[in-house]
């Protein structure tokens, strides 16, 4: 089920909410938790029920592994066995993810490198597999480290399946979520949380259906006809995708945070105006923050720990590997690997720059960072390397075509550039340009969702703006479109 659908907003969410709090009011705590699990699994199965056994198997397996490790915590002599259990858990989780997500990519590369002709498996990617596997890997590692005290299966299932964060994050840590479900405060209706939750949800819905979906056709058409793009079309394509992805993913996250808050659960923030970043380090502290935290805690830090002595060079090597893994996590393809490598290199350059204590003008720093992000988004979005080359060729060596409306105003340019349908290949028009300007203003000038929510005032202005955004978004819901991060 999609957050941006009538069935979620008008049926699923109200029913889940009222029954959950009704059961809590009657002090039926186990029943209320069971209801939330049932609702979350129904939410997951709505998409494709055939994936339900997979997520259930994954949950039960990881719970069993973690409980085995927890039972060892007081028996220090058996540390080797405990480590082995962790290794089994990690290997099977990675194998589970690898089988569904990377098998065809692996076979394709075997075929290519060994000139074989092995058949592809064409496995459908189970929804949310990348997200729930990561969360559970973190849980296993923490169980091994002795940081997990929880033993309740229901709590564990809620932690993994809680519907607002199940499909595409934010990637939550058990220490953030499980204590909240245990708290008595979460069991009573809290109007302040409801009001803030509704407001955040509205902003997210607006970002998705009004802004991101507006950019989607231009981005899609641009990448579909990558070999034909002129200079402006290529830039409009890449910028459209950058904004589409940002508003789509941050919109999804806002909706997740807002929906969770209705149940008195505070999910971690995932975006903090990332397109205002003035460096790549800054960018990764603002973009998909929960993934950055996961990679830092469970990939980067263990790599660093594995070195006898930490040097700048070794830290940079760990950074590079972490970003490479981040790229691979996003998808099975060379484009994602290249994207991860480029971000790894950019982070190293940024760290080196910081270490050398050189100064750079802030606007210039933003300009460089934004363009790097925008260009690497082309790599992230492209189907293959050919597409990357085509779009980048358009961006840096494309024919310059001006709108025919400018013909009479630019007589000196008549012999230098072509005048004609300048955005035809991406189905663009003057609204494409206006939309990009508005998007730039939103990401650079306007407060972000968290800032709005922190400063919320229960007055007419907030009320009317929320109602306007919600009504407008509801009128655009007939065109259901998936979230981009459902593919990852």
């Amino acid at each position: 089920m999609l957050f941006n659908s009538y069935e979620f907003i008008f049926i699923f969410l109200p029913i889940s909410f009222f029954i959950y709090f009704y059961l809590n009011k009657k002090r039926l705590t186990i029943a209320s938790k069971s209801w939330l699990i049932f609702a979350s699994l129904a939410f997951y199965s709505w998409w494709n029920i055939s994936y339900l056994p997979l997520i259930l198997i994954s949950i039960l397996f990881n719970y069993t592994i973690s409980q085995s490790m927890i039972s060892y915590n007081n028996k220090s002599k058996k540390i080797i066995e405990k480590k082995r259990i962790l290794q089994i858990g990690l290997v099977l989780n990675i194998a589970f993810l690898g089988y569904f997500k990377y098998m065809d990519f692996f076979i394709e590369n075997i075929n290519w490198s060994l000139n074989t002709n092995l058949s592809l498996m064409h496995l459908a990617l189970p929804l949310a597999i990348s997200f729930f596997t990561l969360q559970q890997i973190a849980f296993l590692i923490d169980s091994y480290e002795g940081l997990v005290k929880e033993k309740n299966l229901l709590d564990y299932i809620i932690f993994v399946t809680f519907f607002p964060q199940l499909i595409a994050g934010p990637i939550v840590h058990h220490q953030e979520i499980m204590p909240q479900f245990a708290s008595i405060k979460t069991k009573v209706i809290n109007y302040k949380n409801i009001s803030i939750g509704l407001f955040i949800f509205t902003i997210g819905l607006f970002k998705k259906v009004v802004i991101a979906d507006t950019f989607a056709p231009w981005a899609n058409m641009g990448f579909d006809v990558a070999d034909k793009l002129n200079f402006f079309e290529a830039w409009m394509t890449s910028l459209s995708y950058t904004f589409q992805l940002y508003f789509d993913f941050s919109g999804y996250t806002d909706m997740a945070i807002g929906a969770a808050l209705l149940f008195n659960i505070k999910l971690p923030i995932n975006f903090n105006s990332p397109l205002r970043a003035t460096g790549i380090i800054d960018y990764w502290q603002r973009w998909h923050i929960t993934l950055t935290n996961f990679i830092t805690t469970y990939v980067y830090t263990p790599i660093l720990r594995s070195f006898n002595k930490v040097t700048f060079l070794k830290a940079m090597l760990a950074t590079f590997i972490a970003m490479l893994i981040s790229g691979i996590w996003h998808g099975a393809g060379w484009t994602f690997i290249i994207w991860g490598i480029l971000h790894g290199i950019a982070l190293i350059i940024n760290h080196y720059w910081k270490k050398s204590k050189r100064k750079i003008n802030k606007i210039l720093a933003w300009f460089i960072t934004f363009n790097f992000i925008n260009i690497t988004m082309v790599i992230f979005r492209a189907k293959d390397i050919d597409d990357i080359i085509k779009v980048l060729t358009g961006m840096f060596n494309g024919q310059i075509v001006f709108s025919r409306h400018l013909y009479e105003y630019l007589p000196s340019m008549h012999n230098l550039v072509e005048f004609g349908p300048w955005l035809q290949n991406i189905g663009g028009n003057k609204y494409t340009v206006i939309s990009l300007i508005v998007a730039f203003l939103i990401v650079l000038v306007v407060k972000n969702t968290i800032q709005w929510a922190e400063n919320i005032k229960f007055n007419t202005l907030y009320l009317s703006s929320g109602i306007f955004m919600l009504t407008l978004s509801l009128l655009k819901l007939h065109k259901v479109s998936e979230f981009l991060y459902f593919n990852f």
Binding site: M221, G427, F458, L472, L474, L475, L477, H478, E482
Partner: protein
């Protein structure tokens, strides 16, 4: 304001607004989804032909005969077609339609299980241009758009009653109705524009006393020329093949015809080496896929500017004559080279011969 009160307003006001919008659109029903027409509005204004025609096909029972094509088949009278071939007939032509629209309609009807028994397809010369992008309204239309599958269908009722587009269409419908309650619909109940369904007159008994201006020929040619029409789109040829395979699979009888162009425009196309060459290729390639009736030829009907709304759009009289030719109506006198049946795998003459001679 108290938080509880704020929350109640926050939830209830959008629900009330949505309900009002839904009711307004339901009463006006700009795409004629329901059969109520409470305000007895004759002219339902749809902003996009596709939406209106899709809504009609969705609502109505299966048609026996369909016309598919662009605005150039608007003027073909479905009732006249019905006279020739019998059964319920509808003109599904939509402005700016390319071959993907025709395939989109077919796939949509297949999903609805409403495929007709017979389809008359109008093919436009310009619409097979590789450089011509898929129509924006096709992309935005969830029912027809089989290319961009990411955009999935929601219930048609939502988009026709609960959307900004529907609200705009309702508003315009109401505004037009208030201004002129007697105005005629853009499309009649048979899907034909310009009252085509009501006109059964054959050329040359009555001729509409208007002809398009000379400069329109240049404009029409410039539009072809500036789109750099050198290559026939392989993708669109595949769509054409797919259309034929769907028809064969479902035992649908079909006829293809090339929609007529005014002779002055044909002449301009001929004289241009690049476009002229493409024109020859076009006729040959289409013939490699299917037989068709070729109406893009010099003849007394295409010569006459009175017979066209503009150099690319035949008017209702010409539309009627097309049907007379296709169904070999002996009561109508027609020049021989108006609608010539081109058998499958015909080869056309080369460009040099072509530019120096009349077809």
């Amino acid at each position: 304001m108290q938080i509880k009160h704020w929350v109640k307003l926050y939830i209830s006001v959008p629900i009330i607004l949505i309900f009002i919008v839904f009711t307004f659109n339901f009463i006006i029903d700009p795409y004629s989804i329901t059969s109520f027409n409470l305000l007895k509005i004759p002219n339902k204004f749809a902003r996009d032909d596709r939406k209106e025609k899709v809504a009609k096909l969705f609502k109505e029972e299966r048609y026996d005969n369909l016309l598919l094509g662009s605005s150039r088949v608007y003027s073909i009278n479905p009732l006249l077609l019905k006279k020739y071939i019998h059964g319920r007939t509808y003109n599904s032509g939509v402005g700016g339609a390319l071959i993907e629209d025709q395939l989109g309609f077919l796939l949509y009807l297949e999903r609805l299980k409403k495929l007709p028994k017979y389809i008359l397809f109008g093919l436009d010369f310009g619409s097979f241009n590789k450089n011509l992008e898929t129509n924006k309204y096709f992309i935005l239309n969830d029912e027809l758009n089989f290319i961009n599958k990411k955009s999935s269908n929601n219930d048609i009722y939502f988009s026709r009653f609960l959307s900004i587009d529907a609200t705009r269409a309702s508003y315009k419908t109401l505004a037009n109705f208030i201004k002129d309650s007697t105005s005629k619909p853009r499309f009649d109940s048979n899907g034909a524009a310009n009252n085509a369904s009501k006109n059964f007159t054959y050329y040359p008994s009555i001729i509409k006393k208007t002809k398009f201006k000379e400069k329109k020929v240049k404009e029409a040619f410039d539009a072809i020329k500036t789109s750099n029409y050198r290559v026939i789109s392989k993708k669109r040829l595949l769509y054409l093949e797919k259309i034929i395979s769907i028809c064969k699979k479902n035992n649908i009888k079909y006829t293809f015809f090339l929609t007529p162009l005014n002779s002055q425009l044909i002449s301009k196309i001929q004289k241009d080496k690049e476009v002229g060459k493409t024109f020859i290729q076009f006729k040959t390639i289409i013939s490699s896929i299917t037989e068709y009736y070729d109406f893009i030829r010099y003849n007394t009907i295409n010569d006459n500017r009175f017979n066209f709304g503009d150099p690319k759009h035949p008017n209702i009289y010409t539309g009627n004559l097309i049907l007379a030719r296709l169904f070999n109506d002996k009561n109508v006198s027609l020049p021989e080279n108006f609608g010539v049946l081109i058998p499958k795998n015909s080869k056309f003459i080369n460009i040099d011969e072509f530019t120096n001679s009349k077809l």
